[in-house]
Symmetry: C2
Subunit: 102 residues, 2 copies
């Protein structure tokens, strides 16, 4: 099981559009085989900053996400919304180490 | 519902001790009323860096965590393990907005 945290800095006038597109992406991503979580968070002290908390059963299922129609559609929709390039940080999961807790 | 991400940079020779203490903290924290998640992650490309993904039902339940015995014990145990001060980032939850998905 792995987590990738993806960090976004969004143009002020694109916040609502980014949320709309990313909720659609969330709704499809949580249905992927191997997806454990796909949480969309907005930073409390700066509404232009977001994080996606993407947890998958395996490297393979995380990679498969980037080959879905909803990912391509989302990526294309949000590309002009970025104030800066997004970046991801990959993590190993220490706890919960029990698959049923995800 | 809120999430706080807490980021840690741990001294190299304290990594195993940090994990041991933080697993104990995790095991108690997930039993708190109002706790939704308390994931412990280790950065893939730098094993000295960790993140706690702390999700709670409310500001009140998140604040109550910092008044538990297991929090005090953990804080006291890990304080000398830090290579730098830890810091937290608070987030609003956009998705999943359904409590049952947590």
């Amino acid at each position: 099981m792995i987590v990738t945290c993806v960090y976004f800095h969004i143009k002020h006038d694109a916040i609502n559009d980014f949320i709309e597109a990313t909720v659609l992406n969330h709704n499809q991503s949580v249905k992927e085989p191997g997806n454990l979580r796909f949480d969309l968070l907005q930073q409390d002290d700066d509404p232009r900053r977001f994080m996606l908390y993407e947890a998958y059963e395996s490297e393979e299922s995380a990679a498969a996400h980037k080959n879905t129609n909803h990912y391509f559609q989302w990526r294309n929709t949000v590309k002009d919304y970025m104030a800066e390039s997004r970046f991801g940080v990959k993590y190993k999961i220490i706890e919960p180490n029990d698959r049923t807790k995800w």
